[in-house]
């Protein structure tokens, strides 16, 4: 039993961390870029990205399922009912949060800040990297939000992972299963693990955010 729980906990962390890592690699630079686009296009882009935050996990799960199923366009990968499929679904769900929060934070920085950095010799790329430092609290909030969503997500990972014991079972799907079986003590234990991770991650992120800018 202890080994089962350890495997579930490890897989939950692996899937959540993998998804947030990949979504960050895409979402942070994308958010930095979108935060700087011109005013007219910005409103449309923001509306699209914000809509992405409301993507229902089961819809994402269904789409990823269809893509990865044997007859789907990505069926050749053989990823359906694997942790990779769960990561793919969660990347899609996390990406709008990371991109949206970062681009909103960047868009609130004044154009004058960028100008002053450029006027001291920074290239456009260096300015973007420094802007990431300027919005560090918001960027960390984006990561915390994405990680929270990944850890607590159940619909999509169930659909594309299949909740297979010792293979694709994560904390959320295990809690659902144990609750359905009437194993409330075990479900509560797993829930405690889930909450503990969520708390730990957020404590670390709040520490990394540092002092608020004055």
């Amino acid at each position: 039993m202890a080994n089962d729980i350890a495997a579930i906990v490890c897989l939950s962390l692996w899937v959540a961390a993998g998804a947030v890592g990949i979504a960050s690699i895409i979402g942070l630079p994308l958010g930095l870029w979108l935060g700087n686009i011109n005013e007219r296009v910005r409103r449309v882009v923001f509306a699209v990205v914000y809509a992405g935050m409301a993507l229902p996990p089961v819809v994402v799960g269904l789409v990823v399922y269809l893509l990865l199923s044997r007859s789907g366009p990505l069926g050749f990968l053989g990823w359906l009912y694997t942790p990779q499929a769960m990561v793919v679904a969660q990347v899609i769900l996390d990406l709008p949060f990371i991109t949206g929060i970062v681009m909103t934070a960047v868009s609130t920085l004044s154009a004058e800040l960028r100008f002053q950095m450029r006027a001291l010799g920074a290239t456009e790329r260096q300015v973007r990297l420094y802007l990431l430092r300027e919005i560090r609290p918001a960027a960390l909030l984006a990561l915390a939000t994405a990680l929270g969503r990944s850890l607590s997500e159940v619909g999509a990972v169930w659909m594309v992972g299949g909740n297979i014991q010792n293979h694709t079972r994560v904390l959320t799907t295990a809690i659902m299963l144990e609750t359905a079986k009437g194993q409330f003590a075990l479900a509560l234990l797993l829930a405690a693990w889930l909450l503990a991770f969520a708390l730990l991650v957020n404590v670390v992120i709040v520490r990394l955010q540092g002092k608020p800018a004055s």
């Binding site: 800040l113 002053q116 006027a119 920074a122 420094y130 300027e134």
Partner: protein
């Protein structure tokens, strides 16, 4: 007089209803060109054009005989540094703010940063969060930030507006000594006539976006050709 380092020809820059128009202006190496004019006359707009980051709508800005604009070579644009009128402190300590220019140039030298902080009497604030500084302290840091870039051209946009007289003298003396040591060219926007007389080797008067007159002290200040410049020098209303 040597070859001009900057040449502006037929420059026009429109910002809403305001238009800056410079028919012709040359800035020479090792000059301290003071840009005089009342608030809103176009001094800041001109200084921004001289950075090469805000190109004019019309006309040509040449720097060292080559067109200056957003597509100018990085090496060339990095010869110019700006201390803006309303500096924004970057996230981090005062030291990190002053080290910004050298860092982005890939030649961070802590000794130079420390030397500039010491010269501007900012050493005690080096570790302080730059965003906790007063307006005057921020202005000093902005001057330090620009000097740390070791530029060939220093653009100063009303850099001493919020400083006490002692700090004003400090900034003026440091710029004067840097100019002598490093053959620095300075463009110094100010509406302070007394300061313009103290620091300028050439002076230009801008009014309502138009370059009215350029000349050399003391004639520029004592016997200006244009009646509008004369009125400004005499403290009469020219607006």
């Amino acid at each position: 007089m040597s070859e001009p380092i900057y040449r502006l020809m037929g420059v026009r820059r429109r910002l809403g209803a305001f238009e800056l128009h410079i028919e012709e202006l040359s800035i020479y190496k090792n000059d301290v060109l003071v840009l005089l004019g009342p608030t809103g006359s176009g001094k800041t707009t001109l200084v921004k054009i001289l950075t090469g980051l805000e190109p004019p709508d019309e006309g040509c800005v040449e720097y060292k005989s080559e067109s200056l604009g957003p597509h100018a070579s990085l090496a060339r644009s990095r010869q110019i540094a700006l201390a803006p009128q309303r500096p924004i402190m970057f996230r981090g300590s005062v030291f990190n703010n002053v080290a910004f220019g050298p860092t982005v140039r890939g030649r961070k030298d802590d000794a130079i940063v420390r030397e500039i902080l010491r010269a501007l009497e900012l050493s005690d604030l080096a570790r302080q969060d730059a965003r906790t500084l007063s307006v005057g302290q921020s202005q000093l840091v902005a001057v330090a930030r620009a000097l740390a870039c070791q530029p060939e051209v220093l653009l100063l946009d009303e850099p001493t507006t919020n400083l006490d007289p002692a700090r004003v003298a400090l900034v003026e003396n440091i710029i004067a000594s840097m100019r002598k040591q490093n053959q620095l060219t300075v463009v110094w926007a100010t509406h302070n006539l007394f300061q313009a007389r103290r620091v300028g080797t050439r002076a230009a008067f801008i009014l309502n976006g138009e370059l009215i007159e350029v000349g050399n002290p003391p004639e520029f200040f004592d016997q200006p050709r244009d009646p509008r410049t004369r009125a400004f020098m005499e403290g009469r209303m020219v607006y």
